[in-house]
Amino acid sequence: MARQFPNQQIEWRLRKEKIAKILMQLSGILITGSLFFIVGTILYKGLPYLSWEMISQAPQGGFYLGKGGGILNAILGSLYLALASTGIATLVGIPISLYLNLYVPKNSFTARSAKLLFDVLFGIPSIVYGAIAFSIMIWLGIRASLLGGIITITLLTIPIVVRTIDELLKTVPIDLTQVTFSLGATRWEAARVVLKYIRPGIFTAILLAFGRAIGDVAGVLLTTGFSDNMPKYIDEPAATLPLAIFFQLSSPIPEVQGRAYASALVLTFIILFIVLCTHLLAAKQKKHKL
């Protein structure tokens, strides 16, 4: 005979259910609210200063004192920097994760120590990457340049790609590799099927890396420098959007401060655009997903 459970327990359980739900909704509202507040502030303060001139021209003399010109140099500098380093980090990072998951036994010393290492690298702040890259550049006699920035930001984004892809690979059912192996596939051929399986997620990994790359200040501060010229050569200093925002925001002139918010708006739009592209691409890839 089943014993009767105490009756009041169900009420307490339902109350807990209610409390949990309210807490979740509260944190949701808090986060969405602050996001709207941030975007709202940028729009309110920046939109009046956003002009075609602003995004189509390099700064003219005295731009940071409120005279004419724009931030095209910083937009391009940031795009070059983020695209190049995200691209390289993806090309290097995906093979690393595939190797650690498909080629090396999962519990081996190599796999475990490599994953630990990437966890640590993932958490190191970008100023440390910047400082190390800077000291190497001094040692090699290279001055602050777009190239220096690309190398630093690539090093910063590789752990992001590796860790994200690694998490994705953990979701791949063991059946998938077993099926491909049982058809006589080599590891590389199996890896290609696995890549196909996780492709929608790869876009997320790239997006995360890109977001980190385009928004980073500390890593580029020492290694890329800043310039009012358009980024034409890879061995010359280049402007980046976050630094441009920083410089404009530290000005006492209201006009220049307004432009800082307009620059932030441009940066936000770039990221929004990349996010939308990623979602579209990922949705397109989903058709063979289980």
Binding site: Q178, S182, L183, H288
Partner: protein, 270 residues
């Protein structure tokens, strides 16, 4: 525990005297996974062009034995294998054994159907493609032949290029069988291949396997005795990693020689 004496082994071997050299010969096979012994001194000749069912309680080593045959096992975990498995006279655990080639000889039909994340057509021709077939007409031919082989052609011919994952689970399992057959294996290994299927799909797969045995040597793992009785010519009873008894289906089910087999068949141990 209950190992066969040498005279008994001879008796069983006499039963399966197929005159031709058997395709799969297992000798003194021992398998340890992460230090634990899973298979103990398994020796066995699997007869050609017939269906051999491996039966036994859960955890007895049935699946391990099956996966030892196409070397899928030494891939995932810390596995030590000693002894030999001869396929076509070549030891697949020998020093110069080439794993992809061995696996190509054996089609695996796993527990749950698992279509590759691509279209129906690409699933079938995946094997031939990686083994170097580039001719589009030949690939089309292979796809049609194999889909007809498993009775799926009429059901899918109009949607060959849609995702394989949209098929019903029974259709998916037939697709997986066709995909395995497309690499022209000599052996079909089935790992409880019908356990996820409804009775009608199960029957379809069983009938297919019975048809296929004229061209292939088939080894199935099953925990359903009735299925073993329906499809197999030979039954191998494994208990706690050891071969207890091997013989013709009716002998094992109706007239088992070993006490353990008797108990298992009657349902006293499971």
């Amino acid at each position: 525990m209950h190992t066969l004496t040498s005279s008994e082994t001879k008796e069983t071997q006499a039963l399966i005297d197929t005159a031709v050299k058997p395709l799969i010969q297992i000798k003194d096979l021992n398998v340890h996974i992460e230090g634990k012994q899973i298979l103990k001194n398994v020796s066995l000749d699997i007869p050609n062009n017939s269906i051999t069912s491996i039966i036994g309680p859960s955890g007895c080593g049935k699946t391990t034995l099956l996966k030892t045959l196409n070397r899928l096992l030494d891939d995932s975990k810390e596995v030590q294998v000693s002894g030999s498995v001869l396929v076509d006279g070549d030891d697949i655990y020998g020093r110069d054994a080439e794993v992809t080639h061995i696996r190509k000889k054996m089609g695996l039909l796993s527990q749950k159907p698992f279509p590759l994340p691509m279209s129906i057509y690409d699933n079938i021709v995946y094997g031939p493609r990686i083994h170097g077939e580039r001719d589009k007409n030949k690939l089309k031919q292979i796809a049609e032949t194999q889909l007809r082989n498993v009775g799926l052609w009429d059901e899918v011919k109009d949607r060959l290029h849609t995702s394989a994952t949209r098929l019903s689970i029974g259709q998916q399992q037939r697709l997986c069988l066709a995909r395995g057959l497309a690499v022209q294996p000599e052996i079909i290994l089935g790992d409880e291949s019908t356990s996820a299927l409804d009775p009608i799909s199960t029957q379809t797969i069983e009938n297919l396997l019975i048809d296929l045995k004229k061209d292939y040597t088939i080894v199935l793992v099953t925990h359903i005795l009735r299925q073993a009785r329906r499809v197999s010519d030979y039954i191998l009873f494994v208990y706690q990693g050891e071969v207890v008894e091997f013989g013709k289906t009716e002998d094992i089910l109706l007239n088992p020689q070993q006490e353990l087999t008797k108990q298992y068949v009657k349902g006293f141990i499971s």
